[in-house]
């Protein structure tokens, strides 16, 4: 059951209707208004049709471009399903669950990773409307994608779960839409168990409240790329929103970002499957195929224009900036090529993942991958496993630190004063650095007030600084903290959820870099440093991190013929130590006729394993030991 909130709640700021004046300007004489009876859509739009649609029947004033935004699991995708059903875009069956969420991981996690778009046809008061539902990714890791999707819209439906109320992500989404000056239609979901009530009303509200796009068909072509996918047969499929002009097969177009020219092969709308059309007109949303070979050629936020008719690019374009890095290695080196091709295929659809070849003495050849955030990383890993059946070792995530160099020699070497450090091995020594910087985020936590004490303690242990704290209703509090990013990339969210019995919600946004007392911690085995275990940590956290690593290593390194000292050290200062005792007896008691074959097999297998172990000084370290220390710890 849905309820339209016609009056803004206390927290809602009065909205400015960005398009209210523009709407007056956009009635075009060239485009007649199109009464409903002039258009006959006798077929269901979900079926694949070969005939091309004529999109000229939808003048700009009959078009509404909107998104649905919501906190995770508040019913965004379900509302989208219902909208698709009542407009006849998809057949009404029980199977329609998260129709726009095509990926297994999206359905499992109840999140949208890859935004989908659907054009809906709807008759209202005798007029036919083209309603373009532009779905958005449901997590802040993808906030850039969300902002680009929103820039193709003039309004949003903000869904709030009646039981859970406003959550951290509700706020984040609200502000995104508010800053983009979009019409906001608040919808309260899950008031009772029955689904589908009032959904029609939501559509009518979209038509009433969301202004049509303010564009001109006689302007030169100006198309925003707000998403792209890759098809093995047809290349890149760019999702576009037309801010001016029109586009059709045969047009020569140029990317404002790459300056490359392409010839358009196909245009169409998404229903949500691709449906070719003769043309796309200003104000409309659809797809374009133009012989682009890689998704990087159709970057999100880029502007396309006609060859020799350049336009001012749409504002807000930026290349994806990875915030969380993790090493990825095949479990078995013989799987390297398979994993490589799986990663390549996945990144074909996700240009925001950065890939650098990396190799670890312990884990072999692999990659250091950069992600937009932690969820992005998890989703990527899960997709590799589910869609490509790849099993990988994923190292604990790290963040990009910066160092402001003081040594003239180093500045000359790097050609700049401030360098970014991703690999701990490249962490410059304090003596040649005037300041280290770490990335921070502004985190928003919304929680029932009974958990405040515990949450404040948690935040303090994560070196967070409180910025704000306010009651948003009688029982719930919104806390705002500046967090060092590395304090939340590993297990913060899990800790927050567990101490609040799942009630607290969390969201964050980039808050720039701040000075930090960072140190490089080495792990030593019998005095010899283990290069791949070196880590950059905040000085206050060095002991806890060092102790945990030593303990994990102690459990993972088998006894040897001598005692092994496992130490964590800052420079020459040892801050934590564990000991693996020497073997005193390791010989099979019985070895006669029948046992010899078995014993030989066992010994030879062990000898083979010994060859594969990495030697640090005289200590043999099995690969498993590295994995257990480097691997992301999912529990705790």
């Amino acid at each position: 059951m849905l309820s339209l909130v016609t009056r803004a709640a206390g927290v809602w700021v009065r909205l400015r209707r960005a398009c209210s004046t523009a709407a007056l300007l956009c009635s075009q004489p060239c485009m007649e208004k199109c009464p409903a009876d002039h258009v006959v859509f006798s077929r269901p739009y979900s079926s694949q049709k070969k005939e091309k649609l004529d999109m000229s029947i939808f003048p700009v004033e009959n078009i509404r471009n909107f998104s649905i935004i919501a906190h995770v699991d508040h019913g965004k995708s379900t509302l989208a399903d219902r909208l698709l059903e009542i407009t006849g875009t998809i057949a009404k069956t029980d199977q329609n669950k998260q129709v726009l969420d095509k990926l297994q991981v999206e359905r499992e996690r109840g999140i949208t990773v890859k935004a989908q778009t659907a054009s809906l046809f709807y008759s209202y008061e005798g007029m036919n409307y083209l309603l373009n539902l532009i779905d958005t990714p449901g997590h802040v890791d993808f906030s850039y994608e969300v902002s680009r999707s929103l820039s193709a819209c003039q309004g949003v439906i903000l869904v709030v779960d009646a039981n859970e109320g406003i959550q951290a992500q509700t706020m984040a989404n609200f502000y995104l839409a508010f800053e983009a000056q979009l019409a906001i239609i608040p919808v309260i979901n899950k008031i009772s168990a029955k689904l589908g009530t009032n959904v029609e009303k939501v559509l009518q509200e979209v038509i009433e409240k969301v202004p049509p796009p303010s564009v001109n068909i006689r302007d030169p072509l100006k198309a925003l790329v707000f998403d792209s996918t890759f098809d093995h047969y047809r290349g890149v499929i760019a999702n576009i929103a037309l801010f001016g002009g029109e586009v059709q097969k045969g047009h020569k177009i140029v990317s404002a970002h790459t300056r490359k020219t392409y010839e358009v092969n196909e245009v169409g709308i998404l229903t949500p499957n691709e449906q070719p059309t003769h043309k796309l007109y200003a104000g409309q949303v659809g797809y374009l195929i133009a012989g682009m070979k890689e998704v990087t050629e159709a970057q999100i936020g880029d502007t396309l224009y006609l060859h020799k008719q350049p336009v001012e690019p749409l504002p807000g374009f930026k290349s994806a900036k990875p915030m969380v890095f993790a090493g990825m290695y095949p479990v078995d080196q013989s799987e390297y090529n398979n994993l490589k091709s799986a990663i390549e295929k996945l990144t074909l659809n996700d240009s925001s993942v950065t890939i650098h070849r990396d190799s670890s003495l312990a884990l072999g050849a692999g990659w250091r991958l950069g992600f937009l955030g932690l969820l992005h990383l998890e989703v990527f890993n899960q997709r590799l496993e589910q869609e490509y059946n790849a099993s990988v070792i994923l190292t604990a995530p790290t963040v990009p630190y910066k160092a402001v160099l003081s040594s003239a020699k180093l500045i000359k070497e790097h050609g700049k004063e401030e360098i970014t450090v991703i690999n701990p091995a490249e962490f410059p020594d304090k003596s040649s650095v005037s300041e280290y910087l770490e990335p921070t985020v502004l985190g928003t936590i919304i929680t029932p007030d009974e958990y405040i004490g515990k949450i404040i303690t948690l935040c303090q242990t994560r070196r967070a600084v409180q910025k704000d704290m306010m009651y948003i209703d009688e029982h719930r509090v919104m806390l705002k903290y500046i967090f060092p990013l590395n304090e939340i990339v590993v297990d913060f969210y899990d800790a927050l959820k567990s101490l609040s019995s799942g009630y607290a919600s969390f969201d964050y946004e980039d808050a720039g870099y701040q000075a930090a007392d960072l140190v490089k911690m080495d792990i030593l085995l019998n005095g010899n440093s283990v290069e791949e275990l070196g880590t950059v940590v905040h000085k206050d956290k060095a002991y806890a991190v060092g102790k945990a690593m030593c303990e994990r290593l102690k459990d993972a390194i088998p006894r040897q013929l001598f005692e092994i000292a496992i130490q964590a050290a800052l420079g020459s200062k040892v801050i934590a130590r564990e000991t693996v005792k020497a073997y005193r007896k390791n010989v099979l008691a019985k070895c006669y006729g029948g046992d010899i074959t078995r014993k030989m097999k066992l010994l030879k297998r062990q000898a083979e394993g010994k060859k594969k172990m990495r030697k640090i000084g005289n200590v043999e370290v099995p690969k498993d030991a590295f994995i257990s220390v480097l691997k992301r710890q999912s529990e705790k």
Partner: protein, 440 residues
């Protein structure tokens, strides 16, 4: 596959082909074996039956429901005959009746097997003939019967002198019964009676173990075998420990038990001639020594293992052989084709050397240069191990010795042999590959 002399009517030939699954490695046929194998072998006879299942044992054994001893007897003799002929050995150096519980067999069966063996090859009058005996199935009269049938050495599975421990192990005898059997055996086989004990049992402490051993040392003869309990998959003890209902003693504690036992035995004049075996007055088991010295042995009976060159087939390389496990199937195969060999694997020269290394280092003498030369004519122990840094490290740690006598473990190293062997096996492989690589 079968030798010409084995040809049988078609149906039998097919059966014979089924019996033998040869895992041949033709590549090795081109290599010339280092030296002719000596024309003798030890013989192991497996008696597969027990009265009761022990909680720790995963050997090939069966609790018989109506045992046809006569068939078993005739099959054992038949297989002994076939395999001794196949090996073309002229001399059987020792015979060992193991199991199962071979003391459940009648002295007549033992006598018949021995008689057959001595008809097929030379079996010296003083050759060591050992029988494993279970305290309950070895009353005085029965033991005398075994002696009369040719057995001259007895190995008694005492396992523990603590009745609670015996129950835990699922043994069907008490400590008193075991000591009674020991007393009888010492009279019948003076200087040639061995006892087995197990340590590292759930709930056992260093002092309770040492106490039991102390008691036994007052009563035992000149040979003692001490075995650390190994939990074998599929045994009831394994299951109980897995389920957490039985706590196993810690590694440190077991190491301490072993160490204290070695010292106690040394103090009363026993020589530890192998990892688990101790003897005084020269009462070493020659049969078991022949395993550790890499000698040929023929195994007969269900599930028995063997290592010998089937010369009658014109072969010159040693084979690892396993007989069919299940007694009834084994008997059928023996009746059909004279033997129940289920699996044959040709051992390459390197594989033989690996076994020589692994087994030889279990002894206190280790591997002498002369001993090694019998198996590797072109590569001495020095060639193999003399230049290895890692071997040097083990020597420096006082665990291993390579000198003019040969290669052997130190007192401390013997307890850590399995760790040392990993380094040595890799070094052996490396040296072997370096020397046989073309162009070097």
């Amino acid at each position: 596959m079968a030798a010409p002399g084995w040809r049988r009517p078609r149906a039998r030939l097919a059966a014979a082909l089924r019996c033998v699954r040869a895992a041949r490695n033709w590549k090795h046929r081109a290599q010339r074996p280092p030296r002719a194998e000596p024309v003798q072998a030890a013989l192991y006879v497996h008696w597969p039956y027990c009265q009761k299942r022990c909680s720790y044992c995963n050997f090939n054994k069966y609790i018989p429901r109506g045992l046809d001893e006569e068939s078993m007897r005739s099959c054992l003799t038949r297989e002994a005959q076939t395999l001794i002929r196949l090996s073309r050995v002229q001399r059987i150096s020792s015979v060992f009746f193991g199991g199962g519980t071979p003391s459940l067999a009648s002295p007549f069966t033992i006598a018949t097997v021995l008689e057959t063996v001595s008809r097929c090859a030379h079996l010296a009058a003083d050759a060591e003939i050992t029988l494993e005996a279970n305290p309950t199935s070895a009353g005085a009269s029965r033991l005398a019967g075994f002696r009369a049938s040719g057995v001259n050495r007895l190995s008694i599975g005492i396992q523990s002198l603590d009745n609670a421990e015996l129950r835990l192990l699922g043994r069907n005898h008490t400590a008193a019964e075991a000591l009674g059997t020991l007393e009888e055996a010492k009279k019948l086989f003076p200087g040639r009676t061995s006892v087995d004990l197990i340590f590292g049992l759930p709930g056992q402490s260093v002092s309770s173990w040492a106490g039991g051993l102390e008691e036994l040392l007052q009563l035992c003869d000149d040979h003692v075998s001490l075995y650390q309990l190994t939990l074998e998959r599929g045994t009831s003890l394994f299951k109980q420990v897995q389920q957490g209902s039985l706590p196993m003693p810690k590694q440190e504690v077991v190491a301490e038990m072993y160490e204290s036992a070695r010292e106690m035995l040394r103090d009363v004049g026993f020589r530890q001639y192998e990892v688990s075996n101790f003897a005084r007055n020269g009462a070493l088991s020659t049969h078991n020594l022949s395993y550790w010295q890499g000698s040929q042995y023929i195994g007969i009976g269900p599930g028995a293992h063997g290592r010998f060159v089937p010369r009658a087939h014109g072969e010159s390389l040693r084979e690892a052989r396993i007989q069919t496990l299940e007694p009834d199937s084994w008997m059928k195969e023996v009746l059909a084709c004279g033997h129940g060999t289920r699996k044959r694997t040709v051992l390459s020269q390197l594989e033989v050397l690996e076994e020589v290394l692994v087994l030889g280092l279990r002894t206190d003498i280790g591997i002498t240069h002369q001993h090694w030369e019998q198996f590797a004519t072109s590569l001495s122990l020095w060639d193999m191990f003399g230049s290895s840094e890692e071997v040097k490290e083990l020597e420096d740690q006082g665990l291993l010795l390579l000198d003019n006598r040969g290669l052997r473990c130190s007192w401390k190293g013997l307890a850590l042999l399995d760790s040392l062997l990993l380094t040595l096996l890799n070094q052996l492989q490396q040296s072997w590959a370096d020397r046989t690589a073309p162009g070097t």
